[in-house]
């Protein structure tokens, strides 16, 4: 048995040339077979790869899809993000516990089923949702859970369940991403130009990154092209992990060709021959389709050597699957993960365009950015910059979830007001909108006349609506818990600060806070924002800070007009000591003020 085990692992390692930078794929394959990593497995991997076990453990412990404890043959990951909670994840969780017979975090004694919670799995529009091994199921109702569990027990094909039919949920197509397309048109248009001209065209279009930071794409490509190097790389960031975002899911399922087109054009522009798509582990179910599309493109001469007979223009694309870590969406963490390591962000500078994947110049772009770049080749920069506003050219995909009657993906022109958008999605009664997901801001109705654009409310795409009666403070707490969980732990302000912030915030929610706690949180939030290395820490205080800014009345209502409220409980603190010594403590009363 153990020999089999070792042999299998050796074969997997050899398949990837025992290349430590491909450790992620090796772990994924081993995980697919065993479901978890025993010390024995880790030992075999270490031997096969000739790397210390501790490095393997280091990697495994970082990603949620990897476990060092045995898990069931079927793992049910119920998403527990804020929107999912709003839509009844707790009731569905209870139904699963009843049907399976174990609690969340546990495995059935026969090793058949493990129940566990997951962060947002990119299905907020169809919440409550879960991943059953790699198959997503959505719109779960407590009463359906029995049948689902029955199907698992009978080893039926889960992807045939009615709940596994994922709605595309594309509610509004715009002229850029979701307009009709033909494979090859954009690449063909780009190849009529020189690489420099392609970059100039992208610069002229005013295209800015859609992944959140909004960096001008043309400038990024130019910087990447201008660094002297033997190799360059294009990376497509399809890790979307911001809770409430699922627009990249829809792009990858409906417009993968446009994404690959964009990557190929980026490769031509910056002088890269190799592109990698980093696809979040939660979207593994799309992998086969994506590989098929890549194969078709190869056959059509749109990938490979001398693309479309352009001499010396070679470009290949591979897809790297992630293993569940929000921070891997941060570009330098993503690159670390691509190199087979844990996904901890790097110090910047140097930026990826200087030293990225394999220390070579690398242009990392969001899925949506690459689509827009391809479309600009097709239709021209002038056309593109007429869409949207002057400072925000083009369209933006918004993933809409929460309290609205039409959740889904909308391709809107930049510059739309929140108020108009509310009507479009059926959220007229919203009391608040979280624009930009957890890391964005909580917007109050008096700001609904403002616009979604880089110059006003900038967003990577997540828009969550809260309807009347929602307890906003509790939801802000849940967003903050997300950051506590997902912090990679490198920076003390982010690792410790977010937890401290949560502790102070608990006092507020529980009505045990004074103005001091409010001031403490503001100061702490500022420290976390300014002292953290990457965007996660720099935005983690936003749910609480922006709710303080825009909903001060919620805080006024719960804080106490006294000078100080202690958290210390004398009777509880002294009881163990009193019991051990059999003595009566100094009474707290005597000392009381």
């Amino acid at each position: 048995m153990s020999e089999d085990h070792a042999l299998f692992i050796k074969k997997v390692a050899e398949k990837y040339g025992r290349d430590p930078t491909r450790l992620m794929d090796i772990l994924l394959e081993v995980n697919a077979r065993y479901g978890w990593f025993s010390e024995e497995t880790i030992g075999h991997i270490g031997e096969a790869m000739d790397i210390p076990r501790v490095k393997i453990r280091d990697k495994i412990s970082f990603y949620t899809f990897f476990s060092q404890k045995p898990v069931g043959k079927t793992v049910i990951r119920l998403s527990n993000s804020v929107v999912e909670k709003m839509k009844g994840a707790a009731e569905v969780a209870r139904a699963f516990e009843d049907a399976v017979g174990v609690k969340f975090g546990e495995t059935t004694p026969d090793g058949a089923i493990t129940l566990t919670y997951a962060q947002c799995i990119g299905m907020s529009d169809q919440a409550p949702s879960a991943l059953i091994n790699h198959t997503p199921v959505g719109n779960l109702l407590p009463e359906d859970v029995g049948d689902i569990v029955e199907a698992i027990k009978n080893e039926e094909d889960i992807s045939q369940l009615p709940q596994a039919l994922i709605d595309v949920n594309l509610r509004r197509s715009g002229p850029v991403v979701f307009a009709p397309m033909d494979a090859g048109t954009a690449v063909r248009a780009a190849l009529k130009m020189t690489p420099e001209q392609v970059i100039d065209e992208i610069k002229k279009s005013n295209l800015r990154g859609r992944g959140g930071a909004g960096f001008p794409t043309g400038k990024k490509w130019e910087a990447c092209r201008n660094v002297k190097s033997d190799f360059r790389y294009i990376v497509c960031n399809a890790d979307e992990g911001e809770p409430g975002t699922f627009k990249d899911r829809v792009i990858m399922s409906e417009r993968a060709n446009l994404v690959f087109e964009g990557m190929t054009i980026a490769g031509y522009a910056v002088g890269a021959e190799y592109g990698i798509v980093y696809l979040r582990g939660e979207y593994e179910y799309m992998l086969e389709d994506l590989k098929r599309i890549l194969e078709e493109r190869r056959k059509k001469g749109l990938l490979g050597k001398n693309i479309l007979d352009k001499k010396d223009f070679n470009f290949a694309i591979r897809i790297q699957i992630g293993a569940g870590a929000y921070i891997c969406g941060e570009e330098s963490a993503l690159i670390e993960s691509l190199e087979g390591k844990r996904g901890a962000p790097r110090e910047r500078p140097p930026f990826p365009v200087e030293k990225g994947y394999m220390n070579r110049p690398t242009a990392v772009n969001n899925v949506e950015t690459l689509c827009a770049a391809a479309r600009i080749m097709e239709q021209g920069a002038d056309w593109f910059s007429t869409i949207g506003t002057e400072a925000s050219a083009g369209t933006k995909l918004l993933s809409v979830s929460g309290d609205c009657s039409r959740p889904g993906v909308y391709e809107i022109e930049y510059g739309i007001t929140v108020a108009r958008f509310l009507k479009m999605v059926g959220a007229e009664h919203a009391i608040a909108a979280k624009i930009g997901g957890p890391s964005g801001r909580l917007v109050a109705p008096n700001d609904f006349d403002r616009t979604i654009s880089f110059e006003d409310f900038s967003t990577g795409g997540s828009v969550i609506f809260f309807g009347p009666g929602r307890d906003l403070l509790t939801h802000m707490k849940q967003f903050t818990e997300f950051f506590v969980e997902e912090s990679c732990g490198w920076c003390t302000p982010c690792r410790v600060g977010t937890t401290l912030m949560l502790k102070e915030f608990d006092k507020i929610i529980e009505g045990r806070a004074t103005r001091t706690e409010i001031e403490n949180i503001k100061k702490l939030g500022q420290t976390i924002k300014t002292m953290s290395r990457c965007g996660l820490g720099q935005t983690a205080p936003n749910p609480i800070l922006t709710s303080m800014q825009n909903f001060p009345e919620l805080y006024e209502a719960v804080i106490k007009p006294v000078d100080y409220i202690g958290t210390f409980d004398f009777a509880k603190a002294v009881s163990a000591g009193a019991e051990i010594t059999g003595r009566k403590p100094h009474s707290d009363e005597e000392a009381n003020l």
Partner: protein, 180 residues
Amino acid sequence: MAKPLIATQHLTSCFGCHMSILDIDDRILKLAKMVDFDRSPINDIKEFTWPVDIGIIEGGVSNDEHVEILKDFRKNCKVLIGIGSCAVANSVPSMRNTVPLKECLEEAYLNGPTIVDGGIIPNDEDIPILLDKVYPLHEVVKIDYFLPGCPPSADTIWNALVALLTGKELEFPYELIKYD
């Protein structure tokens, strides 16, 4: 006008913060001109003679007596300052916080490798009763100012006291509040 009064106290700590107070060297003469000391281990006055203006506490709260002392300080001090890591964030004393009290005592007095012939857990009327954990000051009473550091340097303490006594803006050069 009478000089402002200061009181100081140590709880669970190494006394290093008090050493750091003394480390202001000859400035202690200036301090003596500016203030009078009431209750303090430095002069061995064990009870408040009167309410004072400034109270300085080093160390964390780890037994019933500490709670009483701390509350007494809060009652008798207009301004209360926590100095040093133990007072502010518990630091070394709180290493026991992750272990239940009973296990801690048993390991120290009954089962530890240096115990010969059984051993007993000390228990006497004069020994205060330990709390389940060590607590930072601000969880028990309101603390007006914190001076972190292990210990805060003499200059930090001096700058803070002078600012407080003279009402001048507090200035900490970067080196004084950089801890790594």
